[in-house]
Symmetry: C3
Subunit: 202 residues, 3 copies
């Protein structure tokens, strides 16, 4: 049961991030192959960096053979139904926020499973949640959005800190649910009210 919930969570996150990546690639006039790759990297890149840094190899998507297939199929569907998806902008922002919460939680748990300290686990959660987007932006030759746009990775960090505060007193599943909701909520509020981290110019 536990297993299947985690898996569904990851699945949903992968689908949402693939759509986001594939869309960005189509906006840069990439060819079909490029669109699928950027979708793949956006969805699975954060987890891949995390796995490589902690030495969990072969990396996760090589072990769960379904994930590459799911991004592939999602990417192809995104190409064919781009008109429809375009109109779902609000739906899309919500899904992206949910994906961010889910992926961050998955990253934190992998760190805990490896016996790493809370600080490192929070960093791993942040990498899992937001570095797929960094890789996407590097491949698209853009400055990574998360360093300049609305609050994004900061939501992961806040969520991660709250998670470790909660698990000292609450049940693990409650802590997880609160954390995912919090990250998702911070992100949605940030997009809605266009909130950014302060900027400094040297």
């Amino acid at each position: 049961m536990e297993m299947s919930v985690s898996y569904l969570i990851e699945l949903l996150g992968v689908i949402v991030f693939t759509i986001s990546g594939a869309f960005s690639a189509m906006q840069k006039r990439f060819d079909a192959f490029g669109v699928l790759i950027i979708g793949f990297v956006t969805a699975l890149g954060g987890g891949t960096i995390r796995d490589v840094l902690i030495g969990y190899t072969p990396v996760s998507w090589m072990r769960t053979a379904n994930l590459p297939l799911i991004t592939l199929v999602t990417g192809i569907l995104t190409i064919f139904f781009k008109q429809y998806i375009k109109n779902l902008k609000t739906t899309f922002i919500i899904f992206d926020a949910v994906g961010l919460g889910l992926f961050t939680m998955i990253g934190i748990q992998r760190g805990v499973a490896e016996g790493l300290s809370p600080e490192i686990c929070i960093i791993l959660g942040t990498i899992t949640g937001s570095f797929g987007g960094v890789l996407r932006d590097i491949l698209l030759n853009n400055i990574p959005q998360i360093f300049r746009k609305e609050i994004y990775a900061t939501a992961c960090i806040v969520g991660g800190i709250v998670y470790f505060l909660l698990i000292s007193t609450f049940d693990k599943n409650i802590a997880r649910l609160v954390t995912i909701s919090l990250i998702c909520g911070i992100r949605l509020v940030a997009v809605r009210y266009n909130l950014s981290m302060p900027k400094f110019y040297a």
Copy 2:
């Protein structure tokens, strides 16, 4: 014997890709060090990403001490003989196509040796064949060519699929030869007739 054929194949691929990388760097007015590094990364970067993802560390070029030396020498020779190499444009395209086929085959075999599934092996072959060029383009601050230009990585994928179809009935060496020739052939036809994957604009 087997050993030495594989090694010669890899050697040739490394040389060709080093020349390709070194040339691109000279076009961007990199200094001598930059030219050598870009040559190195173009030639060995794809295999390095593959090794890191599957956890085959220290990565291959640290185990076969000759490879770094060969890219270094090739890079230096490219700098000195750039005028001559420029005129060999056709020869060069052919070599690049051969390198693509060879590197893809090497990547697939590494995946098989690690006991990974055919889909993952095909991905590893594609990464080995074409992601050195992706790293080169990132370092040169260009959008990766393989996402927008003529068929490239697609040739690796098609070759990989054909390889796994063939080895169920044919001898492994025949399957290899056909695969390498096929990838090389697709690439050459794509360049000759300027064939691209379809593009989609969101």
Copy 3:
């Protein structure tokens, strides 16, 4: 004692490189989170690439929990005291050169500890010393400086070669001190007299 000297050396290098990275990010108008991340990546990115390539995982900064904290604090202080630091340009160049020497030495020693050949150790030293800056430039969407500006990575390579020549006859600590000083010296002379590697245009 040995331990603490190495640690102090690393600490100083981390602080200097964090300041350098945070400054570059502020010049590109990154938000607070972006500034801290770029500082982190500049300081710890070279060692991270090295660790991933040799399979020393979880990577070093996950094992020495202080390092991420130190870059974080340094990054925050850099934001608050940017006016003061700006005026320290000369001091800063000196620190950066010292950091380059120290990090290169650390990288070489890690390679030796892993039983790798001198050539590979020199490459690892160069990666440790200069690839944090490469990652910084990629994230800032710039062409990596080390491929075009004054002598930088070349100093690491020369230092590495000298180190392996020295340890055959001299005491290890003397060899280290000479190597670090040499790298630091080459870099300072290069900046002072604006020395570059020769450039070639294809």
